[in-house]
């Protein structure tokens, strides 16, 4: 019996349980819901929970354990010669057996393997039938037991709400655990990296060339992991992006919130926000194939040598992407400046521009700083634009016409492709990731704190 059919039957039983429970409860109360402890449908859920929950747990546990048990049984049935193979060879053999069992191509098709595949299929079949039987039995048992318990005094709602609470806690726990898991893996892999490369050499070294020797006899491929050029490259591109995004975003926000008519504002704002909705891969294409050639040609025309993967191209396009981010956040904080402050300035005869310069911007400054910091953290973490438009060479330069590389570009290049997972080269990606994570986390915390503090002041 197929597992999905089993699942379907359990679900159907659960639904039936719900209706049975409700009817039973109403019957027990002689059709008067007021005599019940809980609303009738709670009794339905009560039965459904007893019927479905243990069974679903059994299904989940079974599906995890069954392959492990079957693999063990199949290996046990193999001739001794195969059983004593080293672990990786045994794994390959097992893979072949599974492939044959599923009717797919395998690299080895000896009689031993085919026999094992048949055994594998038998066992799987048997397991599925046993699962179906156990699951249905459990579901039925739960159904009957819960039905028998139903009485007007049963506190059905309490159980249902407890289960519901459990589900909600489980969901939030999952989100938290995921975050913890990400941080933990970053930390652990980084520690392994710093076993190989000293922490200070990584943080303050000025030479980055992560090519380590594949063979011991290769020359000059020891690899060096000084991340300063990468940090500098990231900073350069971020700086260029901010030079574009901050003035443009800020002035747009000022215009939209102080000068524009509501009709203009409600048209222009969504159009500008389209910029934020365009996938980053599109910006990468735009930077690499439209902006970079234009900048290179313009540079050549005035006698400058511009790298085809210049920091300028990637930075400017990233800046364009971040404009709506800065403008809508600034717009929020500028709109949050109390109208009374504006009126105070107007009442003294200040022009709008003077009010903006002397009153509104100073009042909104913490919020604007927060918005800019958030934008910076976004620019630092941006990946696709720089992967497609910035270079790979770790140049330590402040010249925006040269190619530089960034933390995210290096993480992608270090991890994409076939790598051993314990080489310094691969582990370096985790160390870079950790730096990126810690830095942007700090930026975000600072920015949010500034924004919140500012909000409190005016609310």
């Amino acid at each position: 019996m197929n597992t999905s059919i089993t699942l379907l039957v359990v679900v159907v039983l659960t639904v039936i349980g719900f209706y049975m429970g409700r009817r039973q409860a109403l019957g027990a109360a002689d059709g008067l819901p007021a005599r019940l402890h809980s609303l009738p449908s709670y009794y339905g859920y009560y039965v459904a929970i007893w019927c479905g929950l243990p069974t679903l747990a059994l299904l989940a546990a079974w599906l995890v354990l069954q392959p492990i048990i079957i693999d063990g049984l199949v290996i046990g049935s193999l001739p001794v010669a195969q059983q004593n193979l080293p672990a990786d060879r045994l794994g390959l053999l097992l893979n072949d057996i599974r492939n044959i069992a599923h009717g797919e191509a395998a690299s080895e098709t000896s009689t031993v393997v085919v026999a094992a595949a048949n055994r594998y299929n038998e066992l799987t079949n048997l397991g599925n039938w046993m699962l179906a039987a156990c699951a249905l039995a459990l579901a039925a048992a739960g159904l009957v037991m819960a039905r028998n318990r139903i009485a007007p005094g049963l506190r059905a709602r309490n159980l249902v709400e407890r289960v519901l609470m459990g589900v909600l806690i489980l969901a939030s726990l999952l989100a938290i655990l995921t975050t913890i898991g990400i941080v933990a893996s970053l930390l652990l892999e980084s520690i392994r990296f710093f076993d190989k490369i000293p922490f200070w050499e990584f943080l303050f070294g000025t030479k980055w060339s992560p090519q380590t020797a594949l063979r011991a006899d290769q020359v000059g491929q020891s690899g060096s992991f000084g991340a300063i050029p990468i940090f500098a490259g990231t900073a350069l591109i971020t700086l260029i992006a901010m030079t574009v995004a901050v003035p443009v975003g800020l002035f747009s926000a000022i215009y939209l919130s102080e000068y524009a008519k509501p009709s203009v504002r409600s048209t222009v704002k969504p159009i500008m926000e389209i910029l934020a909705g365009i996938p980053t891969v599109v910006y990468g294409f735009f930077a690499a194939l439209t902006v970079a050639p234009v900048i290179r040609n313009a540079g050549e025309a005035i006698g400058l040598s511009v790298a085809s993967e210049s920091a300028l191209a990637a930075g400017v396009v990233m800046g364009v992407m971040i404009i709506p981010f800065v403008s809508s956040l600034s717009d929020d904080v500028i709109s949050a400046v109390p109208q009374s402050l504006r009126e105070g300035a107007y009442g003294l005869g200040a022009t709008k521009a003077e009010t903006v310069r002397n009153v509104i911007v100073p009042a909104a400054l913490p919020g604007i700083v927060g918005a800019v910091l958030l934008a910076v953290s976004r620019a630092i973490g941006e990946t696709m634009i720089v992967v497609m438009a910035a270079g790979l060479a770790a140049n330590l330069t402040a010249n925006p016409f040269e190619a530089v590389t960034t933390v995210t570009v290096q993480i992608v290049t270090l991890l994409v492709g076939d790598q051993e997972f314990d080489s310094a080269k691969t582990l370096a990606a985790f160390a870079l990731g950790l730096v990126l994570f810690v830095f942007t986390l700090c930026l975000n915390v600072i920015a949010l704190r500034i924004v919140r503090k500012y909000r409190e002041r005016y609310e």
Binding site: L39, S41, L256, F285, T351, E354, M384, V412
Partner: protein, 355 residues
Amino acid sequence: MNNGTAPIAAADRQPSAIAETVKSGLRRRHASELRLKIYGLMAIGFALVALFILLLSVISKGYSAFQQTHINLEVYFDAAKIDPDGTRKIDDLRRGDYEGVARTAIRSAFPHAKGRRDRRALGKMLSTGAADKLRRMVLSNPKIIGTRQHVWLLASDEIDMLRKGYAKRNPDGSATKVSRKQVAWFDALAKKGAVERQFNWRFLTGGDSREPEQAGIWGAVVGSGLTMLVTLLLAFPVGVMAAIYLEEFAPKNVMHHVLPLSMPGILTGTIIGMAQALGETAPLLMVGMVAFIVDVPSGITDAATVLPVQVYIWADSPERAFEEKTAAAIMVLLAFLILMNAIAIVLRKKFERRW
């Protein structure tokens, strides 16, 4: 705060003097007002122009990918090449040397080209897709074996670039990636009216290919669609459970007010979130979804690529012809995003009107 006329001390301020001073500063102050306004307009203009140029560059680069150059040739369906054993069985017909048939067709259009290199160069003007078309023709109608037919055959990507004007013609008669003789042959064919740009169905319906002229976006579209479907299926039960919970447990005013009021938010949030996921690329690169996959996936367990990754792969390809394919893929991706956002807006409007 100096503004032309000498400011006056507080002590000897006279009404007329004050009025005069205030008035004399007005022009400068209004000019500065205008400046701020212009900066604001310029900033908005910059953002809108950037958006416009972005879309324009994608469309102007990409629209040509929806057409592909074909060459009309007289093809001799040579039985000796297609079915040397003369069995006329489908399996044998499938194995025929259709590339040879296509090569012969273009060579016979230029009988003067004799040398080995010239004959090779002529063959290179056709795509490998040309042979596929001939095979399909024979399989659907084996009777054409032995006949001569005029057939529109897919040109190679270099010829396509030449036809579309992307390959730069050099003074010596050659062009980018196209030799002098090939240019001459192409011009001769064009003069005869045997070169035509036809709608590129293959782009919309086919999977990826190493050959730009045969590459299609459908595999990535289906891949993206299936990915979205899985996301929805995972999110759907949660949504339904939440709805049931509200219906059954919550007080009736929650059911009648909270849910309908939050529903448009939930719906549009879901759609916009999914639209964002649709455009996400970097995480997929890291988990190694950057694979070259020709086949259109038929289920959620098949190897698949998604639209933004397809864009990335093509953008990374060296062939010039992939540039227009990349831009066209972006157009398809943006079309999907616009569609999803439009649905979100329509849903929000609909719910807002009702409540």
